[in-house]
Each structure stands twice: as C-alpha cells, then as structure tokens.
C-alpha cells in the first residue's frame, strides 16, 4: 500500500508542472471536440494529433494522448444526444435514449448525466486499473477465439433487448446487418463474397460510414415536423444539469453495473468500448423495472452505455501497457506513439519506466476532473447548437458527415456508402425499423465469424470443442437465456396462470 502511494505521488509530481497540466487539459478539450465530430472517434483523434507529441518528454506526450482518448470517448455523446448523430461508434447506444430526451426538452440533463456517468465510470476504472492492472492482464489472455465467439454471440443475443415495440423488425434489421458484415474477402480462404469485382468492397463495409448514414443523414432528411427539439433557457441553469435525487437513485445502479461490465469488456483484447456500451445498454434494459420504457428517453439509457464506454477505454489500456497487446484501434495507435517516444509497453513497463506509467495513471485522475469541468461548464454552450435554425444546422451537420466520411479512407467511395445508407435509413425510419441492431450486427458479424472460424481450426473442426470450453459454455448459456428467456417465461406464466 505504501509503495502504491509512493508510486502515485511520483506520478502526481510530474503533473505538478502547470505546463503539463495545460497539456492534459488541452488533450481533453481536443478530444471532446474531435469526438463530437461525426465519424471522428478516438483513433482518428490520436492519429491526427500524434505529430504534436514529437520531441516531447514521453510522460507529457502520453498524458496528452490519453487526454484526447478519453475526451473523445465523452465527446461522441454530445452529438448523439443533440442531433442523433453519434460522434463515434461507442456513442451509438447513447443516442437511443439521449435523443428522445433532447426531444422532450431535457438535452441538458441528458448531457449532464452523460458527463457524470462517464466520469464516475472512468474514475472507478482508474482505481481498479491502479490496483489490479498486472494481475488482470494475465487473466484477460485466457480469452481465446472460442471465448470471444461466445462473447460476440452474447452481444448478438442482446439485440433481442433493444428492438423496441416490434422484435421482428429489430431482427430484420439485424439480419440485414449480418449480411452486410459478410461482404468482402473471406478471412480464411480469401474467397470474394458479394463484391462484384469492386475493389473498394474487398475489405468489407466499415460500420462507421453506415452508422453516419443511418443515424446522421437519415435524421437530416427525415421531416422533423413532429420531432422538434425544444430549448428552454431555464433548463440551461446549472442546477438543472444536476440530476435530482430520484434520478440519481435510478441511475446509480446502472452506472455501477455499466462500469464493471465496461471495464471487463474493455480489458479483453479486441472487444472494446463499442461492444461494452452495447452490452451495458441491453443489460440495463433487462434488469431495469422500467425496461420497456427504454428508448423513449430515460436517463438510465444514457447513464448505462456512457459509464461503460469510458470504463472500457481505461480497461483497454491494461493489455496495451502491461502486455504490449493493444485491445482496440485507438490503443494500437497509442502504443505506436509510445514506441515512437522511446517506450516499449510490456511486462516490465511498470519497472523500467515507472515515472511514465504512474504519471499516466495520475493524469487519468486529473483528466477525469477536467472532463467533468468541461462537460458541465461547456454544456450551455453545446446545447445552444440546438437554437440554430434547422436548415442551417442540417447543412452544417451534413458537411461534417461528408467530410468525416471522406477522411476515413481518402475516398469518395465511403462518401457514397454514407449517402446510400442515409437513404436506407430514411426508409427504415419511415417503416419504424430500428437502426441500432443493424449497426450492432455489422460490428459483431465480422468478429463472430472470424473468431468462430479461428476457434474451429484450433479445435480441429469440432464445434463441440468450441462451445464446451468452460468460459464459452457459460457465456453461451447466458446468451440463450437473454434471447429466449423472456418468451419462455411468458409461455410458462400463461400456462399456469389459468
């Protein structure tokens, strides 16, 4: 314990320098802005701002990058709530309840809750990180392809929990999403699937342009006559940004669960913040008494995914720092940055580069405080975006989306994909087919398939070998209960009620 405090004070001593603090603040600020821009998530933010760290002290460089990283995690929720365009994939679930809240005139409250949930999730995770990082890192590796496959099935099963009024429409969207995930070259045999000779489709359809189209463009072209975001100056008062007692009581358990789940999922290499927020939302919906009201604008629906994605972003640093195994795109780029600064992440990082490692941990505490300050003080400013007249706001958002989609691959093809899915999204909205299951299926479809194929090769082609591994079996059973538990209990109830 004493050693821990010594280490921590070593870390904070680096942060005592006001210039370093300024970098940390600047990182969080840049992160929030980048995260809020459609299509630009943490990985793009870090990649773009990476050159700034050239020539910096390693400790300072990594503090700046870490600030961008969790700033962007929060920033994604701002546009998700205000204009139903998630800034990045991890904020997709935040839009589900955040936007309806904004429509009800509670945008300020939703964004306040997003900030609190993010900060609570982040801070608890930092403490867990500090205490357990080296130990957990080893256990995370127990997850191999079979276990990931089971985890992805669990994710897909959670679609049942987010389909709203009409499960069949939700599943329809999910199956279209799974189909889209099939497009591209087969991972194992390299066979072309549904590419029709178009070289742009060889590596498949990325879900970011799809999400920007389905959520962003569809929102813009849908007639919003019936869905006007009301804005009332009163709600911008500081007091109103703070959830009241009852709301805290409703949300805290979800924040707690979301944090635990997010931290755990984030720690697994390859799972990450997006999947963490998906799972957390559907878990919240399952366990909440008001489960069927999710999607209509509940603060819990914002709290659960937001706490999970920030917790996951901290959790994802564990395998990267302690094992040199990056768990997500963003942490992979951070690892590259660290190596460029002359630091090799790995088992001996905490011994050889104690100052860097501990000042990073210290900066996470401070960074979370900055995040809260920015989130709360900046809120009135962000919300004012809604006061802009719809035609002006729409055209600016559209410009952001199109530039963002071009910047993904420097290619007009992704812009075309974005617009195409914008049109699809319009019809889905009109037909009341939910878009979230489709995005989830695109993300999970590829991962489910590639992990299953790898697991099958490792198990010499035996599916029994894949699903009977202890961890995967347990996860698969949970998935089965999630998918079919509801209907079956209803059936039993019906039978015995009469």
């Amino acid at each position: 314990m004493e050693a821990l405090l010594n280490n921590l004070s070593l870390g904070f001593s680096v942060l005592a320098d006001p210039i370093v603090l300024l970098y940390a603040f600047g990182g969080v600020l840049c992160g929030v802005i980048i995260g809020a821009l459609p299509g630009l998530g943490p990985s793009v933010g870090i990649a773009v701002l990476l050159p700034l760290t050239y020539g910096m002290e390693p400790a300072v460089g990594i503090i700046l990058l870490a600030g961008i990283y969790y700033g962007a995690m929060y920033g994604g929720s701002i546009t998700a709530i205000l204009i139903n365009t998630p800034g990045d994939s991890a904020a997709v679930m935040t839009a589900l309840d955040g936007y309806p809240l904004a429509l009800k005139g509670q945008a300020g409250k939703a964004m306040g809750m997003a900030a609190y949930a993010s900060v609570i999730g982040g801070t608890i995770s930092v403490i867990a990180f500090m205490l357990f990082a080296p130990v957990i890192a080893k256990y995370a590796l127990v997850f191999g392809s079979s276990e990931y496959f089971a985890l992805m099935v669990l994710g897909l099963a959670s679609i049942a929990g987010m389909t709203g009024d009409s499960p069949s429409k939700g599943f329809l969207a999910a199956f279209i999403g799974l189909f889209i995930a099939l497009i591209g070259l087969d991972l194992v045999t390299g066979v072309q699937r549904y590419v029709f000779g178009n070289v742009h489709l060889y590596s498949g359809i990325d879900f970011i342009p799809v999400a920007m189209g389905l959520f962003g463009i569809a929102e813009i072209i849908t007639d919003r006559g019936d869905a006007k975001v009301e804005i009332d100056n009163k709600m911008l008062k500081f007091r109103n940004l703070f959830p009241n007692k009852q709301e805290w009581k409703d949300c805290l358990p979800h924040i707690g669960r979301g944090t635990g789940l997010g931290f755990f999922v984030g720690m697994l290499p390859g799972a990450g913040a997006t999947i963490a927020s998906f799972l957390s939302y559907s878990m919240a919906k399952k366990v909440s008494k008001r489960g069927n009201e999710f999607g209509t604008g509940l603060l819990e629906g914002v709290a659960a995914p937001e706490s999970a994605n920030n917790a996951a972003s901290i959790g994802a640093m564990i395998p990267m720092l302690t094992l040199g195994v990056p768990g997500s795109g963003a942490t992979a780029i951070m690892m590259g940055a660290l190596m460029m600064l002359g630091i090799t992440p790995g088992p001996s990082l905490f011994m050889n580069e104690a100052e860097v490692a501990w000042s990073l941990i210290a900066s996470m505490y401070i960074g979370n405080i900055f995040l809260l300050v920015l989130g709360i003080l900046g809120l009135p400013l962000f919300v004012r975006v809604l006061k802009v007249k719809a035609p002006i706001l729409n055209s600016i958002v559209l410009a952001f989306i199109l530039i963002g989609s071009y910047a993904l691959e420097n290619s007009l093809f992704t812009v075309g994909i974005t617009i195409f899915f914008g049109v699809i999204g319009y019809f889905m909205k009109k037909l009341k087919v939910p878009a979230a299951p489709m995005i989830l299926a695109i993300v999970l479809g590829y991962l489910t398939e590639s992990n299953l194929r790898q697991a099958l090769i490792i198990a010499d082609g035996s599916i029994v070998g894949v699903i009977t591994k202890p961890i995967s079996a347990v996860i698969l059973i949970i998935a089965l209960i999630m998918a079919f538990g509801g209907p079956i209990t209803q059936m039993i109830k019906k039978k015995f009620a009469v």
């Binding site: 773009v48 191999g144 087969d186 390299g190 070289v199 094992l323 600016i396 530039i403 090769i457």
Partner: protein, 346 residues
C-alpha cells in the same frame, strides 16, 4: 443571436476542414524546398536526361500509421530534408482491399511520370490469388527496391520446446497438432508456414488472424502453439521468455535478436522476407525510371535511412531498377508457387 451561433458553427466547420487537411493521411510533406525547377540551372551538376518538373504523388496503399506508411514517409522526409529532388513528393494514403484500391487508383492514371506507389507482400499475393484486376508483370514498372522485413518463427512458452529442432521433431511426431498463427489467409506468414511444412516434412495447421497484436494475444494466452511475428512486435516477451524465438527468416541474424539463429544456420533452406520497393505504372520510359532509381539509391545511402531500417528491424537491401526487375521475376515465381500450394490446402 442566431448570427452569433452561425459564426461559431462556421468557425467549427473551418476548424474541421483544417483538421482534415492536416491529418497524416493527406498532409503534403512541407513547403516546396526548391521553388524553381532545377532545369533552369543545369550547369552546377551534370544533369543528364530527364528531371521531374511536377510534384510526385506517392501512393501508400494502406492507412496512416502502418508499416508501408512509415516506410514511405521516411523516404519522402529524407528526399525533402536533403533537397535531393527539385519537386515535392506528396504522400497519399489510399487504403482498402489489401492495397488493391491504391494500386488500381494509380493504374487509372496510365503511364504517368509523377505517380508511384510502395509495395509490400500483398502487391504479390492479391493479384496471384485473383483478388486484384491488375497483373504484376503487365501493369507495373519497377523503380527500386529498398528494404526487406524479416519474419520470426516463435513458440509459446508452455510448449516446453526451446529450439527449432525440437519443435520440428514434435511436429513430425504429432502431425496437424501444432497450430500456427499468422496474419491473413495468404500472406508472408502463411508462406513461411508452408515453407517449413514442405522443407522440414511436417504438417502444421494455419490459423489466420487480423493483426500482429491478435496473434500475440493468442499465443501468450496459449490458444495457438507457434506463430510468425515481426521481431519488433515480439518485443519484451522475447526478452522475458514468455515467447520463445526459434528462427528468423532472413539470410542473416537480425540485430535486435543476436542469439536467434536463421533457418539457414539450422540447416533448412528457408528464407522469405517481405519486400518493400517502389513501383510505377507500366509504360513509364526508361529515363524516368533511371532518374527515380538513382534518387532512391541516394536515399538508401544516407545515415538517416540506415538508422531508420535498424530501428524498424528491416533489412538494408537496395536494388536499382535493373536488379529489381530481375529480383521481382524470382519473387513472383515464389509467390505463385506458394499461393498455389495454399489454395490447394484450403
């Protein structure tokens, strides 16, 4: 009041455009180093033949931050810093389809003296496996070859086997039991495994992963037994003994792993490395190719380049235009042979 908001938003839009413009994906190197083309003063150096008069578009068929990207940007940096050329080289990332998107983009510009692209293993594997509309021999002109990436064959710790010999003996005794992790389904990693299978008379099973990071996680967790990984990716795990290095696929030992033998030393005629060079479109005239070939030779002779190769564990292998054409013929034949073997096994 609305006006004010409008101004704020417009400002954000401008910031966004600037941001996109500054992204490493697009950023042109620097201000023009020399503004007037050197053609105007040919007296100083003995300028013979062709000299570029327009900026060169340097295509990186992969995203920013990857191996090809770092390689290309270093070349450009050296050229511009040392004012080796009278024009600028502008790095353009065109990722997608394992490089195919970038090469087809270049191909669309026809014979053009101002566009070129970097090569890596997928330059060979995609056309050969039928996943590219282009032909290696008919659609490209070979400018210069600059580096080779060695591959490392490594085993997991709890396999309890410490040398190449022991692993091969084990593999002989247990056909199909060893699971070999590598990147993608028809890559240099795949070729390495099939070479070992063929030349050592063993049978290992290939498991394709998305990236080196995934392979590392799988082997450290004990889910696969052996793998191909870049010596730098293995990093600390090699030093810590959690990953056992068996042999490197280069002709000589690599500097960061002085104790790890080559396959050749261990008595197996296996060398296979990722080749990194620069290509242009077919139909580019010989004098243009000569100019760029000389230019890249100058780059390869700088101290900076040598340091860069060492840091990134790449082999210093320069071939000029003529040597590259010859080398390419051999390398293509090798890829054809092994891609065919891979396809038959799937």
């Amino acid at each position: 009041m609305n006006k004010k908001m409008l101004r704020v938003l417009a400002l954000m839009l401008v910031a966004m455009v600037v941001l996109a413009g500054c992204s490493p994906a697009e950023s042109p190197a620097e201000e023009p180093a020399v503004e007037t083309p050197a053609v105007e003063e040919p007296a100083v150096e003995e300028v013979v033949g062709w000299v570029p008069t327009e900026n060169v578009e340097f295509i990186i068929p992969f995203s920013a931050g990857g191996g090809s990207d770092v390689f290309a940007r270093k070349i450009i940096e050296i050229i511009s810093k040392n004012e080796m050329a009278p024009v600028n080289f502008i790095a353009t990332n065109k990722p997608g389809g394992s490089g195919v998107v970038g090469y087809t983009y270049m191909n669309g510009k026809g014979a053009n003296d101002y566009i070129m692209a970097t090569t890596s293993s997928s330059f060979y594997s995609q056309p050969i496996t039928g996943n590219s509309p282009l032909s290696i021999t008919d659609d490209f002109a070979f400018v210069a070859h600059l580096a080779k990436d060695p591959n490392l064959f490594a085993a997991k710790q709890d396999l309890g086997l410490n040398t190449l010999e022991e692993v091969i003996e084990y593999a002989k005794a247990n056909p199909g039991a060893l699971k070999f992790g590598g990147t993608a389904n028809a890559s240099d990693d795949t070729i390495l495994m099939y070479m070992i299978n063929e030349l050592a008379g063993v049978e290992m099973t290939y498991v394709p992963y998305d990236s080196g990071g995934d392979i590392l996680a799988a082997i450290l967790g004990g889910h696969i037994d052996v793998c191909a990984i870049s010596p730098s990716e293995g990093g600390e795990h090699l030093a810590a003994g959690t990953l056992i290095p068996l042999a490197v696929s280069a002709e000589e030992r690599v500097s960061i792993l002085p104790d790890v033998p080559t396959f050749l030393e261990s008595g197996y005629d296996i060398t296979h490395q990722q080749s990194r060079g620069v290509v242009m479109n077919a139909g580019t005239s010989q004098e243009v190719l000569d100019y760029y070939s000389d230019l890249f030779q100058q780059v390869s002779e700088t101290e900076e380049w040598k340091t860069f190769l060492k840091e990134n564990v790449m082999g210093d292998v320069f071939y000029n235009n003529e040597e590259y054409v010859e080398f390419n013929t051999d390398l293509t034949a090798k890829y054809v042979k092994f891609m065919d073997m891979i396809a038959r096994n799937q």
